[in-house]
Symmetry: C2
Subunit: 352 residues, 2 copies
């Protein structure tokens, strides 16, 4: 089965050209098809630069764009012909199998929920961030969709992120940690203490509280937290990694000897950068709605977009949503039956 | 005036020997005096290794220790002859001017509050973390004492951290940022949105929300957050910095060429490590109580202890507490008059 992935060509800081480049790479390197949504003329102009299996890229013209600073729910409701909204409409109609967007994270989330709705019994869809560690990748959820959470939200994040980790990364029983400020179960804020009880009394592979320090050790596969803490963690990590490299560069540039040393070790630095590059996974999967979506960083490169398209295909092929439903059934029956107020999703922030 | 600083010689992962070494360095390099509290025999044995101006190190024998895993308030109440409790008793009696501890953070906090009490009108004392940035240091508060906060707590953290930043780092009007997940004032969780209003309507130098990414840029002098988010940020930063260096080392060790390059650039790496070393500031000041205290990392080196003793002296000499009271008076008169329940300080976590 050839999957068709919609790409919001108007999202992202670099304009349609970079996104189109990523789409072309995706169809060149895999058997996926891509539907580009946005200003048809700009997209077609950008496409002229490349050779690609032409049947596998389609262009759908849309006349509106949701800007980064717009209020997500309001903008998605009002702008019926925006690229992000039309992308999810096509998804609902079964014309595409997933949506990839590097635009306004909140609007992507809002369009997904508004158009396709939440998975049954899921109280809050969320965004799963993928972090590199000393061993394999770790999935942190939520990284920005839900800023004020209740314990059963965190419990469901554990389920959704586990389903992703097992189906996409092939980990049979993902080890789940609860992000807190001490390893003992009694430590943490009120939300974490209650979430700890829920997780402890479930049949999930819950290993207990983990501290921020454990995030990058690779001894845990899933880290659960509310979207405020998760988004702060995501941004802090990006900022720190950049600052570390900037400081190292500064120190190295101070002497000729160090500069020479850097030249010799340059490949190692390059490999390191590849290893920690967010572009490797392309973006953050949006989990918990009746469809498949990936939210990419606003400044995504073509490489990141290509990888996001690949990860979106894997989410569909490996039936992550089915796995979520199955884990929900197997775990505590009380979790998340209630239907929450979704209004604060308007504050959703993702990697962008 | 020669200041006398109490050092809990039983706290820390490396035992009294490392702490004693730090105390000796402090008296050798400045005119400060140090009172070491703990097992007198072990302390005196450790002291034998060094020459130092003997009048400036005193030893006070204590028979009890609060362990890292003990419940802080309970342990401090029960263990009347514990090194940390006696240290603060001496502080109350005016026999020492400040306390430095690398032991149980919560117990240090509990002993400070129990013995000396909070500063007038301060609802919640907290722990200020000092982070290196691309420019100068940034002070983040709270980094672990108060896991569930209300807006006026964050408002007072802004005041206390500003007082520290201006008096110790000499910044006339510290720029205060509120840690959030978007730069617009409307973004964040419920706590952050309300805290934003308080800060905006004050005469503090509030520059608005900052994201985790901004932490290490050095464009802000004070970052305000609750103790849960702050502690996660602190631990995440430590973990990421270590992981980055470990990954770089791994990449460099893969080829002979890169190894040779590293040898040439080694001094630059060394300088970098010094620049980001938490030991530079020694520890995290405990602000908001009627006295002066520094909480050090459990694994503090002698160097970190020496620097913590120096920073403690500066807090006393520069009257940080007086400045806090002055800023409280000048800012909104409504802030923090109420007296909070302090029971959840039992969950206090610091750098240790």
């Amino acid at each position: 089965m050839t999957l068709q992935i919609a790409l919001d060509a108007m999202g992202g800081d670099h304009g349609p050209e970079e996104l189109v480049h990523g789409a072309v790479q995706a169809v060149q390197e895999s058997d996926v098809g891509v539907t580009l949504l946005g200003d048809e003329q700009r997209i077609r102009t950008a496409l002229k630069d490349y050779d690609w299996p032409s049947a596998r890229i389609q262009v759908v013209h849309t006349s509106q764009v949701v800007a980064m600073e717009e209020s997500p729910f309001e903008a998605v409701s009002r702008k019926r012909d925006s690229s992000i909204r039309v992308a999810f409409e096509l998804h609902k109609q079964g014309k595409v199998d997933a949506v990839v967007s590097a635009g306004n994270s909140g609007a992507t989330m809002a369009a997904a929920i508004k158009t396709l709705g939440r998975l049954d019994k899921i109280a809050r869809p969320g965004i799963a961030g993928i972090f590199p560690t000393l061993k394999g990748p770790v999935v942190m959820m939520d990284v920005g969709a839900n800023v004020d959470c209740r314990p059963h939200h965190l419990f469901q994040f554990a389920i959704m992120a586990s389903a992703f980790s097992s189906m996409v990364f092939g980990i049979a029983k993902p080890r789940i940690g609860l992000l807190s400020i001490g390893e003992e179960g009694g430590k943490g804020n009120a939300l974490v203490k209650k979430s700890h009880e829920l997780l402890l009394n479930s049949n999930l592979n819950y290993i207990g509280n983990v501290e921020g320090r454990d995030t990058f050790q690779g001894d845990v596969d899933v880290i659960v937290c509310d979207g405020f803490v998760g988004n702060v963690s995501l941004k802090l990590s990006e900022g720190l990694a950049e600052a570390v490299l900037a400081m190292l560069r500064e120190e190295i540039s101070k002497t000729l000897k160090a500069k020479l040393g850097y030249l010799l070790a340059r490949q190692a630095f390059h490999n390191f950068r590849e290893r920690v590059d967010y572009a490797e996974y392309g973006g953050a999967p949006l989990l918990g709605f009746k469809g498949t979506g990936i939210i990419c960083h606003g400044r995504s490169s073509a490489l990141a977009i290509k990888n996001a398209i690949r990860v979106a295909s894997e989410l569909v092929r490996r039936n992550v949503n089915e796995r979520i439903m199955q884990l929900l059934l197997e775990s505590s029956p009380t979790a998340g039956v209630e239907q929450d107020d979704l209004s604060d999703l308007a504050a959703a922030k993702g990697p962008a």
